[in-house]
């Protein structure tokens, strides 16, 4: 009985008695969720356009952040460093397409997945060799402090991260819907062969999606780096973004956003209100179990394309 009470009643009583704290937890979850979404977005872009499940997205975040910080440490002002980092990520996209994707074209998905894990190792070593492995601070001019709105503490850094994420998503949406390249990207995502037959250059498209994913990685790297320092653990973000992906569906940009929010909020609420019951530190797997439970009802995620199977 007491267990049932602790699981089903007590947390809700806590929520009702301290609404301000509840809202704070909720907001914390929303912000964390948006940050997850940023990482998940990179996955979705690449998966949509090339069917590659890019495990290296987490390391791309780390690599982008390392490059940015490294350039700033060497005296480059923020805008210059940003532009240079973008250039580096675009160059990386070219290199990946030329050296990894092109020789592996038409291979099975699992082989490409493995290749991105190989890439993961390579980039991790490469980034740390170029810029050093110690933890770095990334100062983007937004202080990590909080202010009060109607009795609720809001963190400035998290707020600006959320706004950036929202802006980025809006820009991406416009890019996909309104531009020529965006249309080509959607065509490739729909059907490789058909797109190829009407003259869309697949190779260029792949470079573009990897470059866009690289730029998204910069945004994610800046936000996470400003919050917790630029260090190796940034690359583990990939693992955080995976449940977001399966929840939202691998092919869906809105799914990545909504999935991120659900996971972020669910994780924070679970940790704060139910975590103590089982000894805490449930953040690592809670998102996965949440996503797993969800998948049992919708195997393709929230917005994933309906899986139609034929013999």
């Amino acid at each position: 009985m007491s267990l049932l009470y602790a699981v089903f009643v007590a947390p809700f009583v806590d929520m009702a008695t301290a609404p301000a704290f509840f809202v704070e937890v909720l907001l914390g979850g929303v912000f964390a969720g948006l940050m997850y979404s940023l990482v998940a977005l990179g996955f979705v872009l690449i998966f949509k356009a090339s069917g590659v499940f890019n495990f290296a997205q987490g390391v791309m975040v780390l690599f982008a952040a390392l490059t940015l910080v490294g350039l700033m440490e060497r005296g480059a002002p923020v805008p210059v460093a940003l532009v240079l980092t973008v250039a580096v990520m675009v160059a990386l996209a070219f290199a990946i397409e030329r050296l990894v994707l092109r020789p592996l074209v038409n291979q099975e998905h699992i082989i490409l997945f493995m290749a991105t894990i190989g890439l993961n190792f390579f980039l991790e070593g490469f980034g740390e060799m170029l810029w050093g492995a110690n933890v770095k601070r990334l100062d983007i001019g937004v202080p990590d402090e909080s202010f009060q709105v109607a009795g609720v503490l809001v963190n400035k850094l998290e707020l600006s991260a959320a706004i950036t994420a929202a802006l980025l998503v809006a820009v991406l949406a416009v890019f996909f819907q309104r531009t020529r390249i965006g249309r080509a990207l959607r065509a490739v995502a729909d059907d490789h062969e058909a797109a190829l037959s009407i003259g869309i250059p697949l190779k260029t498209i792949w470079v573009i999606v990897w470059a866009v994913a690289g730029i998204v990685a910069i945004a994610a790297g800046v936000m996470w780096g400003a919050k917790s320092g630029v260090q190796f653990s940034l690359s583990l973000l990939a693992l955080k973004a995976l449940p977001v992906l399966i929840l939202g569906g691998f092919e869906s940009v809105p799914g990545a956003i909504l999935g991120g929010l659900i996971i972020g909020v669910g994780e924070k609420l679970g940790e704060v209100y139910w975590g103590p019951l089982v000894g805490g530190a449930i953040e690592n797997w809670f998102a996965y179990v949440l996503a797993l439970a969800f998948l049992l009802f919708r195997p393709q995620g929230l917005f994933g394309e309906k899986i139609i199977e034929r013999v």
Partner: protein
Amino acid sequence: MIYREAGQFKTTYAADQAIFPIAQDRVVVALAIAAAFLVPPLAGSEYWLQAVLIPLLIYSLAAIGLNLLTGYAGQLSLGTGGFMAVGAYAAFKITTAFPQVNIIVVFLVSGLFAAGVGLLFGIPSLRIKGFYLAVATLAAQFFLVWLFNKVAWFSNYASSGTITAPPRTVFGVMVTGPEATAPARYVVALTLVVLFALAAKNLVRGRIGRSWMAIRDRDIAAEIIGVRPLRTKLLAFGISSFYCGVAGAELVFLYLGSAETLAFDITISFLILFMVIIGGLGSILGSFLGAAFIVLVPIFLTNAPHALGLSVPVALQKQVELMIFGGLILFFLIVEPHGLARLWQIAKEKLRLWPFPH
């Protein structure tokens, strides 16, 4: 001229479907096993046995397990580390509770525990496929490791949370614990891996293996011709987890000696998956080759600068190692996406014709 099957007539179906239908293969395999049993324990140094051969055998076993699931049944899993942890902790609990039980029996029983857990986490595979399933199996990985970390009962309330292999004997020879010699542990690991590899080889050429491959190649078609997806997939998860569980128990008892949950984190799942893919999906031999590759390459990379007489800062060396390791994986995937086992097969085809070009 040496390796060919001319003149070897098969007059029964049994002979035609033998594990090694070609006489030369049988001889080579028998010789290889004999050599593996005799040469290293007598001639190998402590370092080679402890740091190279024992982990190689244990990882091979785990790789065979994952290969059954991913290579034969087509279910991508990233939960290997979790299932190995189940085996390790089950073995620890059983052998500390019943010290008189033979340690080999303990390994097998702990494998059964892992199989049970594997069945449980295999249930989603009925609805979820491909990468969705891979991510779903990560739930097993994170949840199980967290569980063993949090619940002190699993480590017998040890304050540090580590499990330590107690000394146990097989036929009067100490095989686990600090006093067990490397050759003794090596022979136990080798015996188990040989037996399990043979079992796996038999499994995949029989009815079960064929139904796995049918599910892998096209599950709906398999279902239509009468392969039951529920039973087949769950069986694959169960047997695969059994192998992984035994490997996990061996990892602690025969190799590490004592371990925390950290030994079973996500990196080991990826390592085993690498072994399977580099070695060759759907090949038992490939599991051994892949394990050898993944175990030997880092050792080689660590020792290479020494051998060349270069002195490299430790941090830089670690980073370069990572780069080369990643680069090698990419290189092998590009050169031969079907793995080392495929290279071996090509070599065999060539050998059959040798010395003639066609």
